[in-house]
Symmetry: C2
Subunit: 600 residues, 2 copies
């Protein structure tokens, strides 16, 4: 069975040394996030994920969820008990607002925990993960009464929440939504329609599920400007907070999927279900985006998560499995064969995985810090800058992070050879589970268009200019250490390619929108490489400073420098190829008529 | 349910126009391969695969194989009947020698059929596919009696065959084999041991299975120089060809796998089973490589195959599914949304898939022609050249072909959005099935080392120099057509990167073997890009000539030019990045101690 140990040492390094979370202690919510406190949470959270969520991951995949004739859904054995422990431990409350029973810690701490849970058990972690998205929408757009009524129990984990967007004919294009919401005399709405692909839509973990549902009110415009967001509880909630009648919402079936079998992906039927509007009519899209942005960052973390667990197991296998000899002669002549670990191509895959997971962890936590700063930084200017950066980076973290998560999981499976293809070994589950993250919460092509079609141009390109400056400043400050200087030089070069690609878009995309669409995916990947490069430069600078000062764990910091160099030498060269792919434009992509794609 | 239509028009274009098979009519075995004959086989073979093998592919995945308590194995419903039709149609006899009941046609025709069958039903096609490997070993190394006894019934498909290499502790490193072969007084050997991952090891399709088994004779050296190859029939064959007693070989269990569920992957137990040596003692490796090389080309074709079927279905879905609007304004304003097909990022994935599948088809059939020419070309020099090229290219076709097969299947699944993750739609099966091709018959990292560690240096680099010249000559002859000139220019540039990378290996790899190992995978990918580029230049030249002459299907040839340009503009730029990755050497790959990979 695969194993998982939370990488708490690496997390603490990022939180304490790279992000220097304590240095923000003057900001509200950060004052209690002392290093003693955050270290303790990281260690305890890591232990919890490894000991409670991880051991039931593989069995959950084998067993899957079961829908019963009455529409109820049973999760795999052990999920209910593990979730109860999660709730009792208050693990969902870390960065939730104190006002509604949360601990009010920085989002950085919430992201740490999201990573550990998703790594330990992707399918199980999705249940509270989706509730987080619902919470953020109610928090931002709900009425005071709605917040009071729903948030405390959702934050404590007593209730869960879901996001109901997709319909059979309508995925990305939310303007096509057909679910109707008829206003009722009591101020509520009667919701009718069918939603599909509703993760965690029905389950046996909790007594109530607060569905957030996109629907159209009578006479609303046909486009996405006509959608509204509704709270539709599975069980109606009385004014005193007790549970009332069952609402007219039910799970019609669950999907048979490639992976995440432990999470119930439901068809949800709304049949004059009672719902309450969140915000105003036809303003649902904005609320939906708040929910969606939180979810997208969470999905980016899932990319990291499946890469991490696959990597950890591949590291173990590469040491235990003996096959062949080192190219430089037997490494362990007394044995009949050397460990896989001696083979450069196996090491290449392990080093690539190490560079991705450690760099991506830094990027996710850096992103979380921007979320915090966008709300809590001292000046409006700092808040704006943080908001710009995280808006820009959300599609990159989601899109590039999940692409690389799948790629990394696939490579780690490859290290197992034939055993990687066999279910018992568990590696193929990581590949199957990681695959969904490229698809849901906006397929990665949609992320690329969000980045290039919306985020780049917003406020006259303010966000991307801020990002360029961030990278340039970091490179300029790199200092004299030889490895750091190399890492900075390669990053500056990749950033130059990104700038050139951006300029190319500016010059061509207005006249030829398809050239933007044809290059968007390569641009997202290019920006992912520069973003990870930025993180590796930050990490390398810290490591070099620690080594120069003779502080801390020497081997740990030396490994960081080697890994930073590995990324710089082996991943940043792709930047030039991606730029040229972008500059190829849309001509060949769009040239052929549909008949040319028919099988001849 | 997914569909499949064999791309017979494209195959005929490659066979007739690009390879010009008829121009080899003076060579033995080619004389009967007139265009009338090959066109008929292509069309009939395509129809057979689409109509008989394809319709049971998805159900076969769902049902899988069943092992019964007596060790017998039942294949999915319909497999036995479909295989019987395959046998009756003589589809396995196309390029087998006339002497043993084959049709003696060029291997090109055998490869065409392999592609169609693997595309229609990967799991089912593996049964005769593995038998082909066993046939080639007996053909090359078996005694006259063995050939007479086994080949006619294996070629007719009355019996199947398998390849038994892997043991629980021994995959790539065949020197570790423990299966023993004790010489008996009657000239046979008693074979004892356990083999794992034996594809098609037991099944209900045929009355007899001829296992080819690697084992060690008493006192044989410990390394791979000590292995011998044995014929071990499931049922012993009497001298008159009738079936005798059951041999002491049985299926102990079947594996639960990520995919190819319709193929029985068996643990095979040999318990003093009666076997006969193929060739001499301790010379098994050479025979094994003959079998393996045939199998590796077949696996490369599987990469193409899963990409092709995924592509065909994605093309259909992209036209039927409506979501969003074209970036340039509504393409079909009377509808509520445009087809996915209008979106540049969807088109990008479809064009990439088109460029891969059509280019890879040309590469596989060009490879098959080299196999033919290596045996049958008029002069020793030509035979040598063809043998050099196919030896060099086998790891590229297997490694790059299956990497791209998986990548392409994944992209095509992505076009389906959420539906791509749902089993009923069939796309995720293509991804799961395509994954095995990167692993079996030598994991792709092993292919990369075969290419860089063995093939590059053989005969003083004769093969790679011949390849360079082939590309250079093709570029030099490109002619005046504007698109062809562009394609040639980009190919020449990529070939320059490949030459530089080769030179770098020559300068560094002797002193630092790990630098070779660390760059081998990137080199294989780089060579794959140049190889496909070469095919696209050949195709573009033919298409341009046809258009200039006003011959043939104008739209078809125009599409070839656009696709060639697409590949040149969007795929060849990777060559430079890969070269730089190679030139990064092995330092960062090998630098870290094992402890640095432990979870901190």
């Amino acid at each position: 069975m695969p194993t998982y140990k939370a990488p708490t040492g690496d997390t603490r390094f990022i939180v304490n040394e790279v992000l220097r979370l304590e240095s923000y202690g003057n900001l509200p919510g950060f004052e209690s996030a002392t290093q003693d406190m955050t270290d303790a949470i990281i260690e305890e959270g890591g232990r919890f994920a490894s000991e409670v969520f991880a051991p039931i991951n593989q069995a959950g995949d084998e067993q899957g969820c079961t829908r019963h004739p009455d529409g109820s859904v049973t999760t795999p054995d052990g999920f209910k008990e593990a979730y109860a422990k999660y709730r009792e431990g208050g693990w969902g409350t870390l960065s939730a607002p104190v006002e509604f029973g949360g601990q009010g810690l920085p989002h950085v701490m919430g992201f740490v925990m999201e990573e550990y849970l998703a790594t330990a058990n992707h399918a199980l972690a999705m249940y509270p993960g989706l509730a987080n998205g619902a919470v953020s929408a109610i928090l931002a757009k709900g009425s005071p009464e709605q917040r009071e009524k729903y948030l405390p129990k959702m934050i404590s984990g007593e209730w869960l929440g879901t996001m109901n967007l997709t319909e059979p004919h309508c995925g990305t294009d939310l303007g096509l939504i057909r679910t109707r919401a008829e206003p009722q005399a009591d101020g509520s709405y009667a919701i009718t329609g069918t939603k599909i692909f509703i993760s965690a839509g029905e389950n046996d973990l909790v007594d109530n599920i607060i569905h957030l549902v996109l629907a159209k009110t009578p006479g609303a415009p046909e486009s996405s400007k006509g959608i509204s967001l509704f709270i539709v509880p599975k069980v109606l909630v009385n004014d005193d907070g007790s549970l009332g009648e069952r609402n007219a919402v039910s799970c019609g079936s669950i999907e048979h999927k490639m992976g995440i079998h432990g999470n119930a992906t439901c068809v949800m039927n709304y049949d004059d279900a009672k719902g309450w509007i969140v915000g105003e009519e036809c303003k649902g899209l904005a609320a939906m985006f708040i929910m969606m942005n939180a979810a997208r960052l969470g999905v980016g973390i899932q990319g990291l998560a499946q890469a991490e667990v696959a990597y950890q197991n591949a590291v173990i296998y590469a040491q235990e499995r003996r096959q062949g000899r080192a190219l430089t002669g037997p490494a362990e002549p007394q044995q009949k064969a050397d460990p896989l670990f001696v083979h450069p191509d196996v090491r290449r895959m392990l080093m690539d995985a190490k560079a991705f997971t450690e760099g991506m962890r830094a990027l996710c936590l850096w992103g979380a810090l921007q979320v915090d700063l966008s709300h809590k930084a001292a000046s409006e200017e700092e808040r704006q800058m943080a908001d710009d950066l995280i808006s820009l980076m959300t599609p990159v973290i989601k899109g590039y992070g999940t692409d690389m998560g799948y790629y990394t999981a696939t490579n780690m499976q490859q290290i197992y050879g034939g055993h990687g293809y066999i279910r018992e070994w568990g590696m193929e589950q990581f590949v199957r589970d990681s695959r969904i993250a490229m698809i849901y919460e906006g397929a990665n092509g949609v992320q690329a268009m969000d980045l290039c079609g919306r985020k780049l141009a917003m406020n006259g390109g303010r966000a991307i200019q801020a990002f360029f400056k961030l990278v340039d400043d970091e490179c300029a400050d790199a200092g004299a250490n030889e490895t750091v200087a190399l890492v900075a030089e390669r990053l500056a070069k990749a950033n130059g390619e990104l700038k050139a690609a951006t300029m190319w878009f500016m010059q061509h995309a207005m006249a030829d929108r398809n050239s933007l669409g044809a290059g968007a995916y390569a641009y997202m990947t290019l920006m992912g490489i520069v973003s990870l490069g930025l993180m590796w430069l930050k990490i390398a600078r810290v490591a070099a400073a620690k080594l120069a000062a003779g502080e801390g764990d020497k081997a740990f910091h030396e490994a960081k420098l080697v890994t930073a160099k590995h990324f710089a030498l082996r991943s940043t060269p792709q930047a030039g190829a991606l730029r040229r792919e972008i500059e190829a434009g849309g001509e060949t992509v769009m040239a052929l008529p549909v008949e040319a794609f028919a099988t001849a």
